[in-house]
Amino acid sequence: MSSSAAASGTAEETKTLVNDFSVEIATVNGSGSQTANSVLMRTIFQMGVPVSGKNLFPSNIAGLPTWFQIRANAKGYVARKHDIDLMICMNPETAKEDVAKLPSGALVIYDEPLKLNELRQDLVFYPVPFQKLVTASCPEPKLHKLVKNMIYVGVAGQSLGLDMEEVKKAISKQLNGKAKAIEINQAAVQAGFEWSAANMPAQTRLKIVRDDKTKGQIIIDGNAACALGAMFAGVQVLAWYPITPASSLSESLIDYADEYRKDPATGKSTFAHVQMEDELASAGAVLGAGWAGARSMTTTSGPGISLMSEMIGLGYFTEIPGVFFNVARTGPSTGLPTRTMQGDVEICAKCSHGDTFHINLYPGNMQECFDFAYMSFDLAERFQTPIFVVTDLDLGMQNWASQPFKYPEGKFDRGKVLGQKELEEIKDWGRYKDVDGDGIPYRTLPGTPGGKGAYFTRGSGHNPMAQYSEKPEDYKQLVDRLRAKYDTAKAWVPKPIVEDTGSKRGILAFGSSDPAVKEARDRMKAEAGMDTSYLRLRALPFTAEVDAFLTSMDAIYVVEQNRDAQMLALLREFYPQFAMKFKSVLHYNGQALDAQTILDQITAFEK
């Protein structure tokens, strides 16, 4: 049984990777592996080791292959690791490929009947009689399929040195206190653990050792973080249509609001949510609610944004607030609906026909998902326009460790809204007059009494008094003011995070690319003595800090997760004078970005 492990010997020759390796688990979708994988990840987290988990799932409810990648890293690098150190093969269908892609020396835990040890000589194989163990540990045949996955948690846990008490805690947490399920799963883990201790050759290559780096941290996904931000921002109307990877943002919000936004006296909610018939309708309801004075939002992904684009143009042209969360997935079309991509940069920047530029926010971590979601409502109302919060599947649906969020103190910014009193004092109010010279007019809300303030909102040409107009000068004045308003936003949106090391070799990235960029920069410095400066973009429009960074760098590597260099296209448009400095670092295969990809491409440019 352990012959292959003994024969290979590779493990003994390599040094032990402590708190610094990756595990990939190949299973079948719908087999309950999600719980097992989360328990593994959570246990490492509870042992104080920085960890990230990425679920690579198919667009399918049950039956198709799925993978889960866990990366533990003491230094806190949580981007996907390019190479897998331990593979757990539970899916016969993909097992051969799963083994074929491993780097030499990797460990493989596999279901014994698959006989994977015959495939390669340079790996360390650990066959496990899963079926036997399941039958022995779980009396209910119905549950065998689910419980089988918990066995590998026990086997791998024992081998990697996980603390079984922490595993048990992780199970109760994951199963939310359901006593029966907890008992069954713990029995399975225990069976795996005991079998492994008695039968599996001990390995010294990969180990988890208790640390204290995750103390006080939370584990959350970006969608839940955005949902919390929206709830604390007092969102009043959610109109949405289900789409992966955005659905769980709305669903989390509905759950949170159920808990925290009900009037205790009546049990009625201060938050309305409607699952609309499609994205055309979601966008319409967002605008209707924003027009009437509510904080409104929707959640969607690329196909939905495409459908919404006519409405978004209406919102931009008629100046109505609304927040559009776009959790991007791999497009175009249905694309890879359960894989990640920064593929909607351009459509969100310019969504709709005619001349349009929108304010976009790009959170790069969990705290920012929360903060930017909160802030987006202030910005939407301040600028009376649709705002995009752009994340992606990697941020939105994967689990990330984070410091607990800080409470957003202070008052909501409800923007320039005139009530009855103010209207009485103003002589000749016009809905679209630029009174303050910042491009932002004053609005009124339907239902304001006093007989003043009514106006007509129209998607056709209008003058500052909101009257229909096709006059060339009225049209030009209007679209020029909208552009001026966009420029005003430069002083309001989150500034980029700039790390100027003195190096004139700059990297510009945004959103979910951040962890991989950080790691790549450290590695380039350590391995090749190559220093870089870094600007992490957090919003559109580009701010003065972006101008300064681009001006001061000799070369700028723009890192993004799409084929067409969409962010670079925007940069070229706004900064044609720097066109020669830009170099594109691209990643677009549906997987999350990893440091190696960035490092390889930049190194090739530097040769």
């Binding site: 604390f232 201060t270 055309l280 319409g284 309801a285 339907p446 007989g451 009514a454």
Partner: protein
């Protein structure tokens, strides 16, 4: 507040009829849509409608331009083609006290916007939704719409070979609580229907045959003034008495069927063509289908059901309009965030 001579009659709010008008219409002279606008103004004046509480919505089309021509003191929203129902839905959620009036066309509602209309009815968004039905796309110069009758002929000769969609049977099928049909050339009936709709709480679908004098008013058109006049069969003589007027106007018992709205207003139906019960859904559908087979269009308040929950009930929102809630009511405190964070450690 009033701009006309002091002698002009005022309603209970002290408003004159002039206070309910809008900008000057830019539609073709004789367009049916303008007659509907006129009746909206009359009905609002007579119903003491608080204009500042009105949200006027529309899609795109000649019909959809008309919200600019009534209620200058109301807030208007001319949105995109066929997508006004969602806009009104959002506004109604934000401020449940708004009185919503939507004006659409047969193209706007029965083609590009049919999905949104269907779902607005299903959710029972409180709105008076008027379909100004001329069987053509007026604004894009006379193409057939989906309400054009089979065999109907366009001005330039093309014949419609597809069956029409009837907005009223569709609305009743979907469970709409207030479904009416009228004719822009019958101001009296339209006035009564609009006033009844103003007292109703829920989606009101009102299909108003409204001839397009420019593209669809020739003798071979089924939506011409002549054809509409010849084939219009009012089901009943409608009476509407607002709750506040009930003391002065008594409905004679036994003569008519009377439906009482939740606000206390009463609608009376005195049978003309048949003894039709407007609360009988299956009976109404049967009657309408028979009418369609015979080439008649039956007008009146076809179907009423005052007992349906609205979107405000099914979303379980607070009674105060959401837009009137302040930050204290909308933003949970630090202890709520701490609790959420604890659950995630």
């Amino acid at each position: 507040m009033t701009t006309t001579a002091p002698s002009a009659p005022t309603n209970k709010l002290g408003m004159t009829k002039q206070d309910y008008v809008g900008s000057k219409s830019t539609l073709c002279a004789g367009c049916g849509h303008d007659s509907i606008t006129a009746q909206l103004i009359n009905a609002a004046f007579e119903s003491n409608l608080e204009a500042h509480m009105v949200g006027k919505y529309s899609g795109i089309g000649c019909s959809s331009k008309t919200p600019a021509y009534f209620f200058n003191q109301a807030w208007g929203f001319n949105s995109v083609h066929g997508r006004m129902p969602a806009v009104a839905t959002g506004a109604s959620l934000a401020n449940r006290k708004l009185i919503n009036i939507g004006v659409s066309g047969d193209g706007d509602s029965m083609s590009i916007g049919i999905g949104q209309l269907v779902h607005m009815i299903r959710r029972n968004v409180p709105i008076i939704y008027i379909i100004e039905d001329n069987g053509v796309y007026g604004l894009t110069k006379g193409q057939f719409s989906a309400t054009a009758d089979l065999g109907s002929v366009l001005k330039h000769g093309s014949v419609n070979e597809l069956p029409p969609i009837d907005p009223c049977t569709l609305a009743i099928e979907l469970g709409c609580g207030f479904v009416a049909r009228s004719f822009s050339g019958d101001p009296k009936q339209l006035n009564a229907i609009l006033k009844a709709a103003m007292a109703f709480n829920g989606t009101c679908i009102i299909d108003v045959i409204s001839p397009c004098v420019t593209f669809n008013n020739h003798d071979d058109s089924t939506k011409s003034y002549k054809n509409a006049k010849d084939h219009d069969f009012p089901l009943h003589e409608l009476g509407f008495v607002q709750y506040s007027e009930l003391e002065n106007v008594e409905i004679p018992a036994g003569e008519a069927k009377v439906v009482t709205f939740p606000d206390g207003s009463k609608v009376s139906f005195r049978a003309m063509k048949e003894d039709h019960d407007p609360t009988d859904r299956f009976g109404t559908l049967k009657l309408l289908h028979e009418g369609i087979e015979k080439g008649e269009f039956l007008t009146g308040l076809l179907y009423v059901n005052t007992a349906k929950p609205t979107i405000h009930d099914t979303t379980h929102i607070v009674d105060t309009p959401l837009v009137h809630l302040d930050q204290a009511a909308l933003k949970p405190g630090p202890e709520a965030l701490a609790e959420c964070m604890d659950a995630l450690t």
